[in-house]
């Protein structure tokens, strides 16, 4: 094999490795892309600070709350109310009821999704039970709080925002470090 070949093979192999890495890089890139564009209605997975936004009293937005335990999640999981009318900029607290009717402790993880997707960019969570895994002993129930506000910059064509939580059983992946401190405060 001559030197001319080796150089070219080297470069091409590097390209192969780079593209393999790029395949994996697409994962975080996609998340960034989603957070910028609101694809899939993904909301930020970190809390935003509760900046006192100017409340826009000129309009009201309907927030719809959907809470579903996944098929294999035996918890009962419900929002306290199904709908709420809010002014953009107002900070609200919404409680979700979780009940573990089984005999064993189960750890849940709520996965948020907002529709329409673009509205996700304007839905800010100051505190949310979905940021951490939630531990619930068998037979217990608890209230899980969500503190949020709608960005006053929400474009006017959106009048309803649907926030959905799907609750998964993640007992097998539980990291005891990050227990549900937030839920404790509001008590059981």
């Amino acid at each position: 094999m001559n030197a001319k070949h080796s150089t070219l093979i080297g470069k091409l192999s590097l390209l192969v490795v780079a593209m393999f890495a790029f395949g994996y890089a697409l994962v975080p890139l996609y998340d960034v892309f989603c957070e910028i564009t609101g694809i899939n209605g993904k909301t930020a997975s970190e809390p935003v600070s509760a900046e006192a936004a100017i409340v826009d009293t000129s309009r009201e937005i309907t927030i719809e709350f959907i809470a579903r335990p996944n098929q294999q999640m035996p918890w009962i999981f419900k929002p306290e109310v199904r709908r709420m009318r809010v002014h953009p900029g107002e900070i609200h607290v919404m409680n979700y009821l979780a009940e573990n009717p089984t005999g064993q402790a189960i750890v849940g993880q709520a996965v948020p999704s907002v529709s329409p997707g673009q509205a996700a960019l304007f839905f800010h969570k100051i505190e949310c039970f979905c940021f951490t895994q939630q531990y619930l002993a068998g037979g217990n129930d608890m209230l899980m709080p969500l503190q949020f506000y709608v960005d006053p910059a929400l474009p006017s064509q959106f009048s309803t925002i649907t926030l959905s939580y799907t609750l998964y059983d993640v007992t097998s992946q539980w990291q005891p470090g990050q227990q549900n401190d937030s839920a404790k405060e509001f008590g059981e």
């Binding site: 094999m1 001319k4 070949h5 070219l8 093979i9 091409l12 192999s13 390209l15 192969v16 490795v17 593209m19 393999f20 890495a21 790029f22 395949g23 994996y24 697409l26 994962v27 996609y30 989603c34 564009t37 609101g38 694809i39 899939n40 993904k42 997975s45 996944n70 993880q109 996965v111 997707g117 673009q118 799907t166 998964y168 059983d169 993640v170 097998s172 992946q173």
Partner: protein, 528 residues
Amino acid sequence: MSTVTTADHHDAHHDHKPTGIKRWLFTTNHKDIGSLYLLFALAMFFLGGAMAMVIRLELFQPGMQFVEPQFFNQMTTMHGLIMVFGAVMPAFTGLANWMIPMMIGAPDMALPRMNNWSFWILPFAFLILIISMFLPGGGPDFGWTFYAPLSTTYSNDSTALFVFAIHIMGISSIMGAINVIVTIVNMRAPGMTWMKLPLFVWTWLITAFLLIMVMPVLAGLVTMVLTDKYFATSFFDAAGGGDPVLFQHIFWFFGHPEVYIMILPAFGIISAIVPTFARKKLFGYASMVYATASIAILSFLVWAHHMFTTGMPVYATLFFMYTTMLIAVPTGVKVFNWVATMWRGAMTFEVPMMFALAFIVLFTIGGLSGVMLAIAPVDFQYHDTYFVVAHFHYVLVSGAVFSLVAAAYYWLPKWTGHMYDEKLGQLHFWCSVISVNLLFFPMHFVGLAGMPRRIPDYALQFADFNAFISVGGFLFGLSQLIFVWVLVKCIRGGEKAPAKPWEGAEGLEWEVPSPAPYHTFDTPPQVK
């Protein structure tokens, strides 16, 4: 385009190859490896075709008659995988092996030993894939697109074998692609400048780059599927913070360039055959090269048009709709160039030309339905119906496969030293072209009428069309047996072929005798 001044005719002296099985196992000769690839592809074409026959048999009538739904899904999955990775891609690689060194005046591929490896791991990949079907629970049944979480949480253990098989296929393709690039870049004969390269070489060079860019992404993707299923990662599992839609983005980032991998070399073949039989130089050589390159580049910007129904924001939908529509421009240029090449030529209609002409017509139909599919708001109605099945079979069967068949007829005299049986070839052509339309044209209607793809049973209003389609399918399958007959006959004997059997043919491959000696261009020819 190019002429040879010092043709090399002393190959026969050192034509010492081992005999028997060892010749094929250890061969580093590009012609032997090319033949192996082509024969393997042909075998896989019939295996994948047999699976298509099972699909058509089950769909002949409404109701479940012959197979279980799960087996039906295995058939659609394996049919797709085998045809894409086992038939079309290896067939093009086989042609590349045979023809590229001869077309550029090189003695062999640049990396002959790697060449041997890249072929011989391929049968094992398919062996693994096929064995997985006989394990308890059956083989992969999640479609060739293996969308997560159907292929992760909800699949059976054959997935591990599937992933392993895809890895091997990917490695084989990547090695083949590197070999093609190094050969073309470094081993062109003196005077064979870039803009003198035959278009088949050009299209393959661009294809090879596509392969190198996307096969590693596919490898990464199947690895993610594997770790999601067995090692508790959650790339695609919402419960762990993943996203199943991400799977589709990565898959189609690979998948869309992949479909061009299967069609660009076909463009090269048609660009060789049409001028030959029109006895006129290819119209717009330079624009053909640029069109190929722009199709390749655009192919990285259109992937999400496979995903309009996943719920994308409007502006993303619009972006992917516009870029997809844009692909029609360079593709159109190609079709116009071919027609302009024919215009005021002096055409004859031997079998390669017939298949090439059928390619142009049927590929254009597939291209036009592609434009329809690009229009996002109507794609909501077309998506995942038989309309899509019709579209991609028009571009892949009457496109890629027809170009491969045309190439086989075109170069058979060079490969075997015999002319194929023209009458049989014409019979093969007419049977194929009629049955392929009986098979795929009604799929447009049944898709528009609302039949989803990948279903083993269907509502009664689709019954008449499906019976018709199935008959077309069986006829198309039978027609390909004529091809085997032609091949066997041509390999075993027939009229002696001259070095240049086609009056209008140009290119270095026609400067060497037929059959091409085991070693060609040991001394590089001088291209003027």
